[in-house]
Structure formats: structure tokens, C-alpha cells
């Protein structure tokens, strides 16, 4: 059987890709996409731990995380559409009106 640490390494690499994506992407949609990548990396780690411990709780938790991600995407994309109506662009850099 493939050792759990291999899955964890893959999860770590995917998480790093996601966080680099959040930093370098400048369109809000693609920043969201990178966040999804990070969520999935965390899910992979949880499923790997579920197998390592022989416990189904982690798999149920992953199910809840997936549902949360779906809700987050729905709300986030609705906000993006609302921003797009006002500004005709979804770049994140000009969106700095709320700074204190």
C-alpha cells in the first residue's frame, strides 16, 4: 500500500500551488480558483488521515468541507457579478476603496 506520507506530500504541494496562485493571480475569479485548489489539498490530507487511522469521521468532515466550498463559491461568484456590474472589471488591485 502507498504510504500516507506520499499523499501528504502531494497535498502539501497542491496547497503550495494554491497559495502561490492566490498571490500572483490578479483576477478575482482566478483567485477563487486557487482557493478551491487549497481546499482540495486539505481534503486530500484529511482523506489520507482517515485511511491512516481507520476512522470514517474524517471522510464525513470532508463531505461537509465540500458543501461549505459550494456555498462559498455561490456567494463569492455572486459578489463578483455585483462588482462587475459596477466596475466592468474583476481585477482585485483597484478594489481598494474600503481601506481605512
Amino acid at each position: 500500500m502507498i504510504p500516507t506520507s506520499d499523499y501528504l506530500l502531494l497535498s502539501g504541494l497542491l496547497f503550495t500551488l494554491g497559495i502561490v496562485g492566490v498571490l500572483i493571480r490578479r483576477t478575482a475569479v482566478l483567485v477563487f480558483l486557487s482557493v478551491e485548489l487549497m481546499l482540495n489539498a486539505a481534503n486530500l490530507a484529511m482523506v489520507a488521515f482517515a485511511r491512516a487511522w481507520g476512522q470514517l469521521q474524517a471522510q464525513s468532515a470532508v463531505f461537509i468541507v465540500m458543501t461549505l466550498a459550494a456555498a462559498e463559491v455561490a456567494i463569492g461568484l455572486a459578489i463578483l457579478i455585483a462588482i462587475f456590474r459596477k466596475r466592468v472589471s474583476t481585477e482585485v488591485d483597484p478594489l481598494s476603496e474600503m481601506k481605512g
Binding site: S11, T16, R25, G54, Q59, A74, A78, I81, E91
Partner: protein, 184 residues
């Protein structure tokens, strides 16, 4: 092992495509590839129900939503203007390599608490029945909270996107749009 390597490589290629493709459609499709290879990895991890949910909910519904919004907002064209933060790209890559290195260092030493062959028999293959039993007994409160959250999310997204109905003014000219000129 060879299957794991192929799937891992596929998911990493999809991830790189997600963060580096200049066309947003390609980025979304790269993430779809990552999600599907992750679903196959779930199968190798005895999580069959999660694999099915991953394909149906994530690779299906969520990604279709993403594609739809990318096309609707015309976000597929690459961003051309200069980044206002200097060297953010290089710094992100440098810190990403550092983060990956430290994660690899930590995670490589992980030793599972019991033998994998022993633990696998407790998982029952991650079939819908056992997973659902845990979900509806131990995770009942989070389950209900998440269902409420989904309801709020649906209502909230409709409320956000709904255009305000203006009764008195017959022609609501969108003249007073702040900041339109500076980004166009």
C-alpha cells in the same frame, strides 16, 4: 504505486495550469483535471463515496458555475497592465518554494498510528452507508448547520445579483457608476 504517481503528476500539472494559464478557461479546465485525479486518488484511499461526490459536486456543479461566470464576465482575456505591487510574482514563487520545502520536511516524517492494512478494514471502503451513518449521528449538528448555510447562500446570492427594481424612474440611466472610467 505507478497509478499513484500518474495521478499525482496529473493533479500537479492541473494545479500548475490553474495558477499559470493566461487564459482563464484553461485555468478552470486545469482545475477540473486536478479535481478528477483527486477523485481517483480518493478511490485508492478507500473513500468511494467521496470520490463520487467529488466528481459530481466539485468537477461537475462547482466548475460549471466557474466556467459560466468566467464566460459571463469575459474574464478569459489575460490581464495586461503592470502589477502595482513590485516583484510580487518572484516573491510569491520564492515563498512558495520555502513553504513547499518546509511542508515536505515535516510531512515526510509522518508515521501512521497503526498498520494501513488493519485500518483499511475499518473503513468499509468508504461506502455511502457507513459514511452517512457517521454524518447523521456524530456530525448531525454540523450537517444541519451546513444545510442552513446552503439555504442562506442561495438566498444571499440571489439577493446580491438581483437588479433593484426601480418603479418611479422609467429610464434609470447608469450614469452614476463610481470608478467606471479608471478601470475600463
Amino acid at each position: 504505486m505507478i497509478l499513484f504517481l500518474i495521478l499525482a503528476l496529473l493533479s500537479l500539472v492541473g494545479g500548475v495550469l490553474t495558477i499559470a494559464a493566461s487564459n482563464a478557461i484553461h485555468a478552470v479546465l486545469g482545475l477540473v483535471g486536478t479535481l478528477i485525479s483527486l477523485a481517483m486518488l480518493y478511490v485508492t484511499l478507500d473513500a468511494h463515496f467521496l470520490a463520487a461526490v467529488q466528481v459530481i459536486v466539485y468537477a461537475g456543479a462547482v466548475m460549471v458555475l466557474f466556467l459560466f461566470v468566467v464566460m459571463l464576465l469575459n474574464a478569459a482575456r489575460p490581464v495586461s497592465s503592470r502589477d502595482p505591487i513590485p516583484y510580487v510574482r518572484e516573491l510569491a514563487v520564492i515563498f512558495g518554494v520555502l513553504l513547499a520545502g518546509s511542508l515536505l520536511l515535516v510531512l515526510n516524517g509522518y508515521a501512521p498510528p497503526r498498520s494501513l492494512a488493519n485500518a483499511a478494514s475499518d473503513l468499509a471502503g468508504g461506502a455511502p452507508g457507513p459514511v452517512g451513518a457517521v454524518l447523521l449521528s456524530k456530525f448531525l449538528l454540523p450537517f444541519e448547520a451546513v444545510s442552513l448555510l446552503l439555504l442562506v447562500a442561495v438566498i444571499g446570492s440571489v439577493a446580491l445579483v438581483l437588479r433593484p427594481q426601480v418603479q418611479e424612474d422609467p429610464a434609470p440611466e447608469p450614469a452614476a457608476q463610481p470608478g467606471r472610467g479608471e478601470t475600463a
